[in-house]
Assembly symmetry: C2
Amino acid sequence: MRGYDKYAYEPFAVTVDLAVLTIRGGALHVLLVERGQEPYAGHWALPGGFLLPDESAETAARRELAEETGLSDVSGLHLEQLRTYSEPDRDPRMRVVSVAFTALLPDAPEPHGGGDAAQARWRPYDSAGPLAFDHDRILADAHDRVGAQLESSCLATAFCPPEFTLGELQQVYETVWGLGLDRPNFRRKVLATPGFVEPVPGAARLTGGRGKPAALYRAGTATVLHPPLLRPSREGRPA
Amino acid sequence: MRGYDKYAYEPFAVTVDLAVLTIRGGALHVLLVERGQEPYAGHWALPGGFLLPDESAETAARRELAEETGLSDVSGLHLEQLRTYSEPDRDPRMRVVSVAFTALLPDAPEPHGGGDAAQARWRPYDSAGPLAFDHDRILADAHDRVGAQLESSCLATAFCPPEFTLGELQQVYETVWGLGLDRPNFRRKVLATPGFVEPVPGAARLTGGRGKPAALYRAGTATVLHPPLLRPSREGRPA
DNA sequence: CTCTTTATAGTCGAGATGACTCTTAAAGGG
DNA sequence: CCCTTTAAGAGTCATCTCGACTATAAAGAG
């Protein structure tokens, strides 16, 4: 806060950018909007927008999320600050500082384009880029962060509907991490972690096709995983 | 980025705030500056300042760090973005969005007050508050983040001088976590993690007092701890 | 009915971890 | 000079965890 009254300070435009992730058909998807104006007209970008005068970045992010996804209730969705991007040349027109957020959605309703002309669409994460501005970097950072958080938090349930099977939960891990997990071991680990999931008493769901019906679970009260659910590392031990 | 040309956007003042942490005499300390002007004149605050027109937040943070600590070379110090604070009322004078950083220092030279009149001083973390603005919250968030990062990264060496003993490294963990660790187990764990530390060939240091001289180590090349060094949880297993 | 598919239960060994004990090498006091 | 104190570092041992794997149960397809 030094220099408040001593030096002139530069005014900046402040925006929020959202990396909205969901899982559709076993693949990680991200919500993108098509830009209608220069620069990057016709390119895809992460949804976002300017802070209003009386909004915090969190408030603005939640407002933008509601606008872009068309969901009526975004109050329960997982929204978390990622980091702030402030390189001087990240927007060719002017100095823009952007606070990026990650949002995780359980189901994936088609976005209805928000309130303006730009169309919005779910795109597979692997074929999302190249995006406008530095959004490729933001998206990659969001993926890294979410992948790391799956290890030590109960975040995975944010990708799942209110009631889900352990198979669905496992698919969240496999999809985000991009690798397969052993089903009995995953099950043992999840059930041994108090507060991660709690069984829905009598319910079982036909998973939509063949096979034995799976028991249903709800997200538990815990937020951190103790001990963590570590993803297998490539280098086990170079003894 | 929607609405760039459609809506007016509010200009914001953008600052950086720094939670500069070090360990002095077995206690966590934080660098504070005394405010000379209203609001909060006479209160202590985290060092920080406005972004210059052509600076990224990271560049500004490193510049402020050099100014506030008086260190000639801050290029090697650990500096990391924490999060951005943007509540509309966090500064009573105007709308200020602040990007907060954590910085970790090995040794603790007395700060020489920077280039302006405000005095700067190391304060014990436990008796640091109350601070100006929302800096208590920022400082607490920084402590949480650093504590969590000690578990899964090699960050602890950032608190240590270039050559250090395992006892000193352990004290970093104990100080930040606020609990005692078993020395042989800590030693075993650190040495079993490839790339965490590497021995300085023939060197041993008289630790300054009684006891067997300890071997010296340098920070290794690894950045992540696989597997992590978990802090003991209060609830071991309520079986 | 039989095969396939998916959920769930159980087994087994290697590795990691927590709680200890013991030895070694220095300083300091008498 | 000897003995105590202090801290480093080596080693032990039981337990827990985890990965790999096998087996059983419950559904649909043919």
